[in-house]
C-alpha cells in the first residue's frame, strides 16, 4: 500500500517485514530514525521473535551481529560515518567469515572536521572489505533493496550493505509502497544457516590462515563476489515478478542509448541529474544518465555495455581519494579499458553541499563542449581556498585548516572562549 512516509520509517518497516531475529545497533545521525522505529516495532510486538540489543558502541553492534549470524539468526544493524569506521575491524570480519549480515548505511561524511551531513566517504572507506554495497536512488528503492539484500546475503553467504543518502533520503517524506508482508514472505524464505553455533556440538570459526592459503581464501572471496554479480539481476527480476515494480539490479540507464555524454553517479543525486538532463535534451544536447546500483561487486561488463557508445563519461561522485581523485571514476575508467569514452571525475556534494541544477547545467555544458578537465570540484569556493593557501605559504604550521576557513566565512567556529 502506498504511503507518504519518511525514508527511515519505510526502511524500518521493510526490515521488520524481513523478520530479522537479532537487531543490534548504536544510534548515530542520520541513521537514528531507522533503529528507533525498529526498536518501537519490536517493543510493540509487531516485529515478533526478534531480539533488539542495545549495544555500547558500533564495534559491539557489528560484533553482536557477527555472533548472532554465526549462531544461525538473521541479523541486521545500521550505522553511518564515524560509526562505520569505529566498527571497521568487525566489518571486515563479517565478510571474511562469510556471514549474511545486512546493514543499512545512512551515508554521511567522515571527519575531521566533524560533519553530520551527507556524502559517500563512509561507504568508500569500506569498499574493499568484502561486503556487497548497493546504492538506493529513492526511498522506494532503499526499502526494496533491503528485501533483496537479505535474499542475496543468505543465498551467497555474504554480508550486504544498503547505502542510502543520509538526510536526503533518510529524512525525506515521499510516497513509498512498503513491501507487503505476504509478498516479502514469499520472496524471502526463512534463513537456513549453513552452520549454527551449538554448545552440544562445538565448532570453531575464524581460523588463522598463513601464507600457504591466505591468497586463495581472498581469491575465493572475490569469486563469491563475482557470483553475487550474476545473482543480483536474477534476484531483481524475481523481485519485479513478485512485487510488480523494478528495483535494484546492477546499473540503471536513463536516455543513455544515443547519448554522446553520459553522467554516471551513485544514489539519490541521480534524480536531480535526470531532471537536468531532460532540460538539456530539450536544447538538443545528447546527454544520458547511468546509475550504478551495485558498487561492490562492481558490474564491469554491464558498465562497458551501457557506456561503450559514449564520447565522454562524466562521473559525479560524493567522495574522492585524497591525493588522487575520483574513486568511482577510477572504477569506471578501468571497466572501459580499450573503449573510446574519455572518463572525467566531478567531485560534488561533499559534507552535504547541495548539488544544484544550476551547477549541474554548467558541468553538462562544459562536458558537451569538451571543456571538462580530468578532475574538477563542483562549486569550489576558489577565494576561500586561495586565502588559506596564501596563509599556509606565509607561515608554516602544522594542524587543521578548518578553523581558518570558518573565520574567513564569518561562521562561528568550534573553538572555546
Amino acid at each position: 500500500m502506498l504511503e507518504q512516509i519518511e525514508g527511515s520509517r519505510a526502511v524500518a518497516k521493510t526490515v521488520a517485514r524481513c523478520r530479522p531475529e537479532v537487531v543490534c545497533a548504536y544510534p548515530i545521525s542520520p541513521q537514528t530514525h531507522i533503529i528507533e522505529a525498529i526498536g518501537a516495532l519490536v517493543r510493540s510486538g509487531e516485529l515478533a521473535r526478534c531480539e533488539f540489543i542495545n549495544v555500547e558502541s558500533e564495534f559491539a553492534a557489528m560484533s553482536v551481529a557477527i555472533g548472532a549470524s554465526a549462531a544461525g539468526a538473521r541479523a541486521y544493524t545500521a550505522t553511518a560515518s564515524q560509526g562505520l569506521l569505529f566498527m571497521i575491524e568487525a566489518v571486515y570480519n563479517a565478510a571474511g567469515l562469510g556471514l549474511p549480515v545486512v546493514m543499512t548505511l545512512a551515508n554521511r561524511a567522515v571527519g575531521a572536521p566533524i560533519n553530520i551531513w551527507n556524502d559517500h566517504s563512509d561507504a568508500m572507506a569500506v569498499r574493499d572489505a568484502g561486503w556487497v554495497q548497493l546504492f538506493a536512488e529513492t526511498n522506494q528503492e532503499a526499502a526494496d533493496l533491503h528485501v533483496q539484500a537479505f535474499r542475496l546475503a543468505e543465498e551467497l553467504s555474504v554480508p550486504v550493505m544498503v547505502c542510502m543518502d543520509g538526510f536526503v533520503l533518510t529524512h525525506a517524506f515521499e510516497q513509498v509502497d512498503v513491501p507487503e508482508q505476504d509478498l516479502v514472505d514469499a520472496f524471502l524464505p526463512p534463513y537456513e544457516p549453513r552452520q549454527v553455533l551449538d554448545p552440544a556440538d562445538p565448532v570453531s570459526i575464524g581460523a588463522m590462515v598463513g601464507p600457504e592459503a591466505f591468497e586463495e581464501v581472498r581469491y575465493l572471496a572475490h569469486v563469491r563476489q563475482l557470483a553475487v554479480l550474476e545473482q543480483i539481476p536474477v534476484v531483481a527480476a524475481e523481485f519485479e515478478r513478485t512485487f510488480g515494480r523494478r528495483s535494484g539490479g546492477l546499473v540503471s540507464s536513463y536516455r543513455a542509448e544515443d547519448a554522446e555524454v553520459v553522467v554516471v553517479a551513485l544514489g539519490s543525486v541521480l534524480g536531480t541529474i535526470k531532471d537536468t538532463v531532460d532540460e538539456r535534451r530539450e536544447q538538443g544536447e545528447r546527454i544520458g544518465v547511468v546509475g550504478i546500483t551495485s558498487f561492490r561487486p562492481f558490474p564491469r561488463e554491464a558498465v562497458r555495455q551501457v557506456l561503450s557508445a559514449a564520447r565522454q563519461v562524466v562521473v559525479i561522485e560524493k567522495a574522492f581519494s585524497i591525493g588522487f581523485g575520483g574513486v568511482l571514476a577510477t572504477d569506471v575508467a578501468m571497466a572501459l579499458q580499450g573503449l573510446p569514452p574519455e572518463v572525467v571525475s566531478v567531485v560534488a556534494g561533499l559534507g552535504g553541499r547541495p548539488i544544484t541544477t544550476v551547477s549541474l547545467r554548467r558541468v553538462l555544458q562544459a562536458a558537451v563542449n569538451d571543456r571538462l578537465p580530468p578532475l574538477t570540484f563542483l562549486d569550489l569556493d576558489e577565494d576561500l581556498v586561495r586565502h588559506e593557501l596564501e596563509r599556509m605559504a606565509a607561515t608554516r604550521r602544522s594542524g587543521p585548516t578548518a578553523e581558518n576557513l570558518l573565520r574567513d566565512l564569518g561562521v562561528p567556529s568550534g573553538h572555546i572562549g
Binding site: 507518504q4 525525506a172 531532471d275 544544484t356
Partner: protein
C-alpha cells in the same frame, strides 16, 4: 514551497504534514528538511515540492512558489524571501500587519492578495493551549493558495497526532483558514471600492 522557522516550532513537521496532505489528494510530494544546528531557537528551513508527476529533484528549493514564515523575527537573520517570484505566496505568523512590521516594501514587491499575516501562535494558544503554529499555518496556507484543501490538511494532522491533539490542531487550522478567507474577501472588496 519553503517553510522558515526556529527549532522547536515544528517547521519540519509542517513540511511533512503538507506533503501528506498533498499525497492524500492524489498528488506526488516530497518534503525534506535543511539540517543545520539542531538547537531549539536556531533558524530552521524545510521544503516541500508538490507535483502531478513523480518528483525526482532533491536539491533545496531556491526559487519557491510559496513561503510560510513561522517566526517573523527571522527577517533580521535570514534572507527569507530569496528566490521568491513576484507571483509568490507568503503567509506570515504574526499578529501585526506588514506595515507594522516595517515590511511595506515587501507588499509592493509581490502581489498584495498573496501576502497574508495570520496570528498562528495566538490561534494555537487558544485552541491547543501551546504555542505550536505549524498545523495552524497549514490551515491558513490551504485557504491562501489552494494547493491543498483544508480537509486534506486535517487528514494529515489526524494521521500524525493522537485524537485530542489532532482535533485541537484541526480546529485551530480551520480558524486560521477562516481568517485568511476573511482577509482575502476584505481585500477584494477594498479593491472593488
Amino acid at each position: 514551497m519553503r517553510i522558515h522557522g526556529r527549532g522547536g516550532q515544528g517547521v519540519v513537521t509542517a513540511a511533512e504534514l503538507l506533503s501528506v496532505a498533498a499525497f492524500r489528494e492524489g498528488r506526488f510530494s516530497l518534503a525534506f528538511p535543511s539540517f543545520g544546528s539542531e538547537r531549539t531557537g536556531a533558524p530552521v528551513v524545510a521544503f516541500c515540492r508538490i507535483d502531478g508527476r513523480p518528483i525526482r529533484s532533491r536539491e533545496p528549493i531556491v526559487e519557491p512558489d510559496a513561503l510560510i514564515i513561522e517566526d517573523v523575527t527571522l527577517i533580521h537573520q535570514v534572507d527569507l524571501f530569496a528566490g521568491l517570484g513576484p507571483d509568490g505566496y507568503v503567509l506570515v505568523n504574526t499578529s501585526r500587519s506588514f506595515e507594522e512590521l516595517g515590511l511595506t516594501g515587501l507588499v509592493e514587491r509581490f502581489s498584495p492578495e498573496r501576502l497574508v499575516c495570520v496570528p498562528a501562535t495566538e490561534i494555537a494558544l487558544e485552541h491547543i493551549g501551546r504555542p505550536l503554529p505549524n498545523a495552524v499555518l497549514l490551515g491558513g496556507f490551504a485557504a491562501l493558495c489552494e494547493v491543498v484543501s483544508l480537509e486534506a490538511v486535517a487528514m494529515a494532522v489526524r494521521e500524525r497526532f493522537g485524537r485530542v491533539l489532532a482535533e485541537s490542531n484541526v480546529a485551530a487550522a480551520s480558524d486560521a483558514a477562516e481568517r485568511v478567507h476573511q482577509h482575502l474577501k476584505e481585500w477584494s472588496r477594498a479593491r472593488a471600492d
